[in-house]
Amino acid sequence: MTKALRAVLDAGCVLLLFSALVLRRVEAALAAVEKASLVAFLSVMVLLSFYQVVLRQFFGTGLLWGDTLSRHLVLWAGFFGAALAAAEGKHFAWETAAASLPARLQSPVKALAALCCAAIAALLARASWLFFLDDKAGGNILFTAAGVSVPSWAYSIVYPGGFALLALHSLIGAALAVADAAAPGWTSEDEDRGAELTR
């Protein structure tokens, strides 16, 4: 009886660790895409805003839609940055109390915090989805450049999308913390998970 139970537990443990490894891979792939998009957005922001400065300082003119686009790109880049911050555990949090817990409690508490974060991010994603639908129904135009009108919803899709990514990363973080609690040190080779993601 106990033998069978132990075998089941062992199998469960192996499965958990295996899925943790798979999750790590999935998260790394996701982070690579997020990082690439973020780099693209930031590059456009840097070039576009500098072009605007040159136009304004030397020619006294500017692109009408340039500032609008830049400002909205800040939020796009911001959401991808925030998703990566969730993957790397870099969001501002009050960590003093959790860090002073005994070592064996730290992973479970970390998992709980990440789970709460995922749940709240999911609620925010839902709120954002309502906002997005409303925005789309409103049919607003963000700006018109070279005869092409960019609808407002093409931008506001970032809210539900961004919060969904945040929720996903937090959920993965929670799962990895659970795996870490089950087999300490096995899945996390360094203390800040995914510090290698942006290296």
Binding site: A36, V53, H72, A82, A83, L124, F131, T198
Partner: protein
């Protein structure tokens, strides 16, 4: 019940943006308003014209931090001030102030420059406690100089002009730097720290080494104060300039490492924006519920005079900032500004004392962030850091008192520069 739940969430280390977002959702839900309202408030971010300055300055700061600019800057400062009594300590102060201002005051100074300055000062004969105290303090010194990120964030949230706030913070920042320099001279005299003989050749070599970086503060700070360009334009110019200099001239940052630097800088920006976005929802609800007005009634019933309110505010901010500076700004500013306005306090003066107050909070025991950073960086017990920073803490407290009760210190420069 709800309060207890949010307290537990905070204690277990749930990210603050999520806690603030949940609080906003909960309050809007309680008032029968669609959760969409939280996002509508967040959307206001995209209409702030100066928002773009945040990612650009942060990116530029990260590039500087990852280049060898700190080494070059410190060598130059040492060549300049080393021959004075206390000169090496003053060089450290100046280098840290500049570095903090240009890297957004996010705690990187202690990590990046502390490792250079600690051995330097110790080898010169400065006592350990003084050295630790100085480095812990300098982690946030420079927060009052442009283009510091906390100033930009305060201006965005508190609805004051960034350029005006840059100008109002400058004089208090310089005064603080001056007092700390005097303290350095006193310590150097007391411990008979030798001076380094002045060498024109060393100075020339150090200046040549950072020939490309010297114009940067002049262009950025000069450009902002002279009104030739706005803070947003300064951010853009600095970003391109630093990119060209560090990647193509000095080649401190390899082109293939650039995406990593970009991503790391935007992780900080993302964390700030999430905090800011969620806080907008929360604070907007609180303002609609007339919380600032009620707060004013409550406080003004006991404390009639503005100076009494300011003392209360000073103490409150010291406690609040022990949490985290950016979060403190985005949550507290929208609530406090209306209250302070009713007391007749100038919004620019308020911003200046608020930021200096936060700077002090960085090193206030038991939870100030700089204390932890130093403790981790130099592997010293927290108790030693509490004792080491005490003289610096008292100096900053005195400076805070000056700035709080002499509004002219903050308001003189913006008036002289005639900023809009």
């Amino acid at each position: 019940m709800t309060v207890a739940l949010f307290l537990v969430l905070t204690l277990i280390g749930t990210p603050l943006f999520a806690i603030v977002g949940a609080l906003a959702l909960q309050l809007f839900h309680g008032a029968g308003i669609s959760p969409m309202a939280v996002i509508v408030e967040m959307q206001r971010l995209a209409s702030l014209p100066a928002l773009i300055a945040v990612p650009l300055f942060t990116f530029a700061g990260y590039m500087l931090a990852e280049s060898k600019a700190p080494h070059r800057m410190l060598a130059l400062a040492q060549a300049l001030f080393g021959s004075m009594n206390g000169g090496v300590a003053i060089a450290g102060l100046a280098a840290c102030a500049l570095f903090t201002a240009f890297t957004g005051a996010s705690g990187v100074t202690i990590v990046a420059l502390g490792g250079l300055i600690y051995p330097l000062l110790r080898s010169q004969g400065y006592p350990e406690r003084y050295t630790l105290g100085l480095i812990t303090t300098t982690g946030s010194l420079g927060l009052l100089f442009p283009p510091s990120l906390p100033i930009i964030l305060y201006a965005l949230v508190g609805k004051v002009s960034i350029d005006k706030l840059f100008a109002s913070c400058a004089l208090p920042g310089l005064i603080l730097l001056g007092i700390l320099a005097v303290y350095a001279v006193i310590v150097a005299r007391a411990h008979r720290v030798p001076t380094i003989p002045f060498s024109g050749r060393t100075l020339a070599a150090a200046a040549r080494a950072c020939a490309w970086e010297i114009p940067l503060p002049l262009v950025i700070i000069g450009g902002i104060y002279s009104g030739s360009f706005t803070a947003t334009e300064a951010a853009s110019i600095m970003c391109v300039y630093v990119l060209v200099v560090e990647v193509f001239v000095y080649r401190d940052i390899k082109l293939r490492d650039l995406p990593g630097v970009m991503a790391r800088s935007q992780i900080l920006v993302g964390a700030i924006l999430m905090m800011l976005g969620c806080a907008l929802g929360l604070t907007n609800y609180l303002i609609d519920a007339e919380v600032p007005a009620r707060l004013f009634d409550l406080v003004s019933a006991r404390f009639k005079e503005p100076w009494q309110f300011l003392i209360l505010l000073n103490a409150f901010l010291l406690v609040v900032n022990m949490i985290e500076i950016f979060s403190a700004i985005v949550i507290v500013v929208p609530i406090i500004v209306p209250v302070a306005l009713q007391y007749g306090i100038d919004p620019v003066h308020l911003g200046t004392l608020f930021l200096l107050n936060l700077e002090l909070g960085y090193m206030t025991p038991p939870l100030g962030l700089n204390l932890f950073l130093s403790s981790r960086r130099f592997d010293k017990p927290l108790g030693l850091l509490y004792r080491s920073t005490l003289p610096f803490w008292l100096i900053l407290l005195a400076a805070l008192a000056l700035v709080t009760y002499i509004p002219a210190l903050s308001l003189w420069l913006p008036r002289v520069l005639n900023l809009p």
